[in-house]
């Protein structure tokens, strides 16, 4: 064997300058070709977007819909050719509706799953805990919760929100409610950031308009019997503004109704209080309540082809937003964000020519001030992602529960909302 190998021409021939140059050139050409092919392959690979979602825990009834909406958007985007010709790969992690778990899962999405962008949590606690981490990881993070801090003093260049916050909801609903429902308000809410934020924003508007806001009633999150708290509502209250979610919402409506509060005061609330719950399932307990919606539950109040196609895609009816093959009810005023955020990212990625994480600055600049037109990608309606505070300026709706259905009484356009809602920060000036 050794002898045979010794007789080979390469073993016997000397390395000359010509052969060296030939080999080097051939090797170099091969390297360039291989590198170019590998780069092309990498670019043709999927764009990974993380979904930071409450699949279990206290927000599970909302998270189900956020997940369903994100999956529907992913399917639609990929059927339409993906993002800039690349497949969208959605990776979902369950935050368990818990801030510490949420932070861990966010790191997992970015560091283990290599998510380039994250569309995130509807739980205000998870969302506020996640924004500093997303910023540390230099990853664009869309939150879907309502605590205003996410796009104000705790917001960063990386945090965005297409939906409303407590600041926006107060601006959308409080002036109308003050004019039409009453001047003396009492606010009852859970004793945590979301409720406190609503109290602060609404109090400022009602007092500016000349109204009176009684001391707030903050209910412990684990309360089951609400009578001790409901019985403290002053009897001169004209408008009772309630901010609850999930099980506490049902307990509130049930026990307030049993005490006959709706007979002496107007009941006013925000969509979170009745998200994932059909008024009919409350068996009349929510009758007469006014609610600020971000996306009308009944399709007839935004009756266009895109809205109808959207509910068909996610499989709900056109009255309650109830799933066609189950009793689940869409958390519609929030879950649309998990759908539209993917289309917003698609639009910004394609407009900026983003290829890798190195191009994030261009995507962020494209998202700042992004205009979104009413379409199948943005079925909630036309909107703008305001440059300064990264907040979505959207149409809102003030609805009333009548005969167990949510009927819109007043549409507040995004232009009206923007006039009431000057930006409090300018995140676009932050260095990246």
């Amino acid at each position: 064997m050794t002898g045979h190998a010794g007789k080979g021409p390469r073993m016997t021939g000397r390395i000359t300058r010509r052969s060296f140059l030939n080999t080097a050139l051939a090797g170099g050409a091969a390297y360039v070709t291989l590198a170019r092919d590998m780069s092309a392959f990498a670019q043709a690979g999927p764009i990974i977007i993380g979904h930071h979602c409450e699949l279990t825990g206290g927000f599970a009834s909302w998270g189900y819909w956020h997940n369903k909406c994100a999956l529907a958007a992913t399917k639609l985007i990929n059927e339409g050719g993906g993002i800039g010709g690349r497949k969208l790969e959605l990776v979902t992690e369950d935050t368990e509706s818990h801030p510490a778990t949420g932070v861990r899962k966010l790191r997992s999405l970015v560091q283990r799953n290599n998510a380039s962008f994250v569309t995130g949590s509807v739980h205000s606690g998870v969302m506020l805990a996640s924004i500093p981490v997303a910023t540390e990881l230099k990853t664009v993070y869309f939150s879907t919760g309502e605590a205003t801090e996410a796009t104000s003093d705790k917001g960063t260049r990386y945090s965005f929100r297409t939906g409303t916050d407590t600041y926006g909801l107060a601006a959308a609903g409080a002036p109308w409610a003050y004019a039409n429902l009453g001047k003396r308000w009492t606010i009852i809410s859970p004793d945590y950031a979301w409720g406190h934020s609503h109290y602060k924003e609404h109090k400022a508007i009602i007092e500016r308009l000349g109204g009176k806001v009684n001391d707030p009633i903050f209910v412990p999150l684990d309360a089951k019997d609400l009578v001790p708290y409901l019985s403290k509502i002053p009897q001169d209250t004209e408008v009772l503004f309630s901010v609850f979610f999930g099980a506490l919402s049902v307990a509130f409506y049930t026990q307030a109704k049993s005490m006959g509060l709706e007979k002496t005061m107007k009941m006013y609330s925000v969509s979170g209080t009745i998200e994932a719950i059909a008024p009919a399932d409350l068996k009349g307990a929510a009758e007469g309540v006014y609610i600020v919606e971000n996306f009308p539950r009944m399709v007839k109040y935004k009756d266009d082809a895109f809205h109808r196609q959207f509910i068909k895609l996610i499989g709900t009816d056109d009255v309650d937003g109830r799933e066609t093959d189950s009793n689940r009810v869409n958390a519609k005023s929030h879950s649309w964000q998990s759908y539209e955020n993917l289309f917003a990212l698609k639009k910004a990625i394609e407009a900026s020519g983003w290829k890798t994480k190195k191009d994030d600055k261009a995507v962020i600049e494209a998202l700042e001030g992004l205009q979104m037109e009413n379409s199948i990608g943005f079925p909630q309606g036309s909107k703008i992602l305001r440059k300064e505070d990264h907040s979505g300026m959207i149409d809102c709706y003030i609805s009333r529960v009548e005969n167990n259905e949510l009927h819109v009484k007043k549409k507040v356009t995004k232009e009206e909302l923007m006039a009431q809602l000057p930006p409090r920060v300018d995140l676009s000036k932050e260095a990246l």
Binding site: A60, I217, D225, P228, Y229, V250, N327, V329
Partner: protein
């Protein structure tokens, strides 16, 4: 203000009786079996869900009230055999196993029944004026049911042969065995009885609170507080502590904001435990 204090004291008594029924189930399981049942709140939740399902399908709350605790008895017996018995008499291990059980129960209900919270209509409509507030008649009825079941339980425990066996097994299982008492069977029945009481509490409380897969998470700490403050394993003490806690928090709420009231009642109870570390009623009955 005086009227409000009275109204909240009465409401505390009403809610306390319902909590006492649930906490008593926890107390007999701990006091008689040394099982720290972290899944007890989830048995309460199963009572609310089962109550709504049976009431909706039969059209009668009263049928649910009769059937669901019986289902609880069977469920408790099955769980005792499969989950509890392998770890019996090892209190720390029972925490781990019942914690796992708790997660399984919650997730099974979430995956099958759904995560959406629901309302169960009260079987008795109407309110009565009570010290300045409109008070729901069903709450008074619910408290009466709870009181009735509590009395029935203590009669059963003290006046029947099976009740005597349960007390005997608790007192000294070895001697009970030597006397021919079927200890394994009594143990299984005791756990099943505690489970059934939680489900019964769930059915009674469902029209007042919410039917939700996580509703057991919030009720569990209150039940544990009643068990600890009443004196571990002291059944009468558990009932008294549950009522005292609810009345105390209700009364304090009439003077300060709800969160301060919660803190104040916890501080008062902590001080009480510092003075009597084995519970307010320790030693009365075990």
């Amino acid at each position: 203000m005086n009227e409000l204090v009275l109204a909240l004291a009465v409401n505390g008594l009403v809610w306390g009786l319902i909590v006492a029924l649930i906490a008593l189930g926890l107390s007999i399981i701990f006091g008689l079996l040394d099982v720290i049942n972290v899944a007890h709140g989830d048995f309460f939740m199963l009572g609310t869900v089962g109550g709504l399902v049976v009431a909706t399908s039969t059209g009668s709350f009263w049928i649910a009230l009769a059937i669901v605790p019986l289902i609880g008895l069977i469920l408790g017996a099955v769980i005792e055999r499969l989950v509890i018995r392998p770890t019996l008499r090892q209190a720390s291990l029972t925490i781990v196993t019942t914690f796992g059980l708790s997660m399984i129960i919650q997730e099974v209900v979430r995956a099958t029944y759904g995560a959406q919270p629901r309302r169960m209509a009260a079987p008795i409509d109407g309110t009565i004026p009570l010290f300045g507030i409109n008070y729901e008649i069903y709450r008074i009825a619910a408290a009466a049911f709870a009181a009735l079941f509590l009395i029935a339980f203590f009669l059963f425990l003290n006046r029947t042969k099976l009740g005597t066996w349960i007390r005997a097994v608790r007192h000294d299982p070895e001697t009970a065995t030597s006397l021919g008492i079927p200890v394994t069977l009594v143990t299984a029945f005791t756990f099943a009885l505690g489970t059934a009481m939680a489900l019964l509490g769930g059915v009674i409380a469902a029209p007042i609170t919410t039917v939700d897969f996580r509703s057991g998470v919030d009720i569990l700490p209150v039940c544990f507080m009643a068990v600890i403050i009443g004196g571990l394993g002291n059944l009468q003490g558990t009932v008294a502590a549950a009522i005292m806690l609810a009345v105390l928090e209700g009364v304090v709420t009439s003077f300060v904001d709800p969160t301060t009231a919660r803190i104040a009642s916890l501080v008062i109870m902590s001080v009480a435990l510092l003075v009597r570390p084995h519970g307010l009623f320790a030693g009365a009955t075990r």
